[in-house]
């Protein structure tokens, strides 16, 4: 016996599709983050670095060949580095 779609069925279908889109978007965004990390920068043990700078084992000698850019929202403590 054939069963016709009711109003509640449509609502359920929309809900399922919306969930699917949300999950796909989340996975895609997550993958992009991983890719960005791979070509970016490294998280370092800042405490150890500053200790070595204080003791004179390392230095704060300004490098050549760089430019400052507006902050991207990341920080050394954000856990985004490798």
């Amino acid at each position: 016996m054939k069963r016709r779609f009711k109003k509640t069925d449509w609502r359920l279908l929309v809900l399922v599709v919306a969930h699917g889109v949300a999950i796909a978007g989340f996975i895609s965004a997550d993958t992009q983050t991983v890719q960005a990390e791979r070509s970016g920068w490294r998280k370092i043990d800042r405490e150890a670095l500053m200790e070595k700078i204080r003791s004179g084992d390392l230095v704060r000698h300004e490098a050549d060949w760089y430019r400052v850019v507006p902050d991207q929202g990341g920080s050394g403590d954000s856990g985004q580095g490798r």
């Binding site: 490294r42 043990d45 300004e62 760089y66 430019r67 850019v69 991207q72």
Partner: protein, 325 residues
């Protein structure tokens, strides 16, 4: 707090405050990119120049050799990974040696040149440049031992005080660079051309890793590229792989593979093709490409005889490329 983009090498790392570049030693501190190992080498030795290897550069001389931590490539076969794959903050041994100290020590040890070597001098660029200028002023020559993964502008500036370079051309295959070294091939080829244009004496090392980069067709293509772009007189050193770091599962390169690669390179037109890391073979001596006269006979790093006369073959008087005095 600002992020910075390091424009030294093709990776163009975008580094947030407190982070380091992929090389681990160029660190963003308060919006300023800092070369944290400037004047702070972790390796200091006196070597025979043949060890670099440089066979056409002041043969038989000693070369003062320095390196700091860090590298912008991450080769699975790295021989110096304890040095190259660490940041300065992780090093146990750090010497305090600003440029004047290095140059003074090199002169004191009777060296004729200084090598920036072992890890990757590109990443401690500022220390290399400042030391090389000081060395040049004191009559010493300067040598880079490098993978040449660097952008054009910084390289052209660095070439000014540099006399010679041994460039590690890891394979003539972009896929190998990406999967084994986390780099790419084209910037290295571009850098080789720039070095030549800037008048730096260039020798090339190609480490042959069994099954990974020992394909003879690729070796022929690489050799032909060297002949066309750098010249037939460019020395090429095929070096024997020993299981290291993350490639301990592979065997050492068979001697026959090295011999076959050498034959292939010479058939492609290269005049000086050497085999390294194999003690006591005829392919570590220099012969005249025109009449086969023995010019420099070597056993390991030792010079047994040097018959060159003012950089020329004593028999046919042909000039042999290199820096001989």
């Amino acid at each position: 707090m600002s992020s910075v983009i390091c424009e030294l090498c093709p990776k163009l790392c975008l580094i947030p405050e407190g982070g380091a570049g992929d090389c681990r030693i160029r660190v963003n501190l308060d919006g300023k990119l800092c070369a944290t190992t400037w004047g702070r080498p972790s390796a200091v030795h006196v070597d025979p120049v043949e060890k670099k290897p440089l066979f056409h550069f002041l043969p038989g001389s000693s070369i003062f050799s320095i390196a700091t931590a860090g590298c912008n490539l991450h080769c699975k076969n790295c021989q110096n990974w304890q040095l190259s794959q660490r940041g300065g903050e992780a090093m146990e041994e750090i010497f305090r040696a600003p440029p004047q100290t290095v140059v003074g020590a090199a002169l004191g040890k009777g060296c004729r040149s200084i090598a920036y070597t072992y890890s990757e001098p590109i990443v401690f660029y500022e220390y290399v440049y400042d030391t090389a200028l000081e060395a040049q002023a004191q009559g010493l020559k300067n040598v880079l031992v490098t993978a040449a993964y660097i952008n054009e502008k910084p390289l052209r500036k660095l070439c000014q005080p540099i006399d010679a370079a041994n460039v590690d051309l890891k394979a003539f295959d972009d896929g190998f660079y990406r999967s084994n070294c986390s780099g790419s091939l084209k910037p290295v080829l571009d850098a080789l051309v720039v070095l030549r244009q800037e008048g730096v004496w260039v020798e090339i090392t190609n480490l042959l890793i069994p099954t990974m980069n020992d394909d003879l067709v690729m070796i022929r293509r690489m050799s032909k590229w060297i002949v066309a772009e750098l010249g037939a007189g460019t020395p090429l050193h095929f070096s024997r792989f020993h299981p290291q770091y993350q490639l301990r599962n592979l065997p050492p390169t068979p001697a026959e593979t090295l011999q076959r690669a050498r034959r292939e390179a010479m058939e492609a037109g290269l005049q000086h093709v050497y085999i390294g890391n194999v003690f006591g073979n005829d392919a570590e001596s220099t012969r005249c490409p025109h009449d086969d006269t023995m010019l420099i006979r070597r056993t390991g790093y030792r010079i047994e005889e040097n018959n060159l006369v003012d950089g020329r073959c004593p028999k046919c008087n042909e000039p042999i490329g290199g820096v001989w005095e």
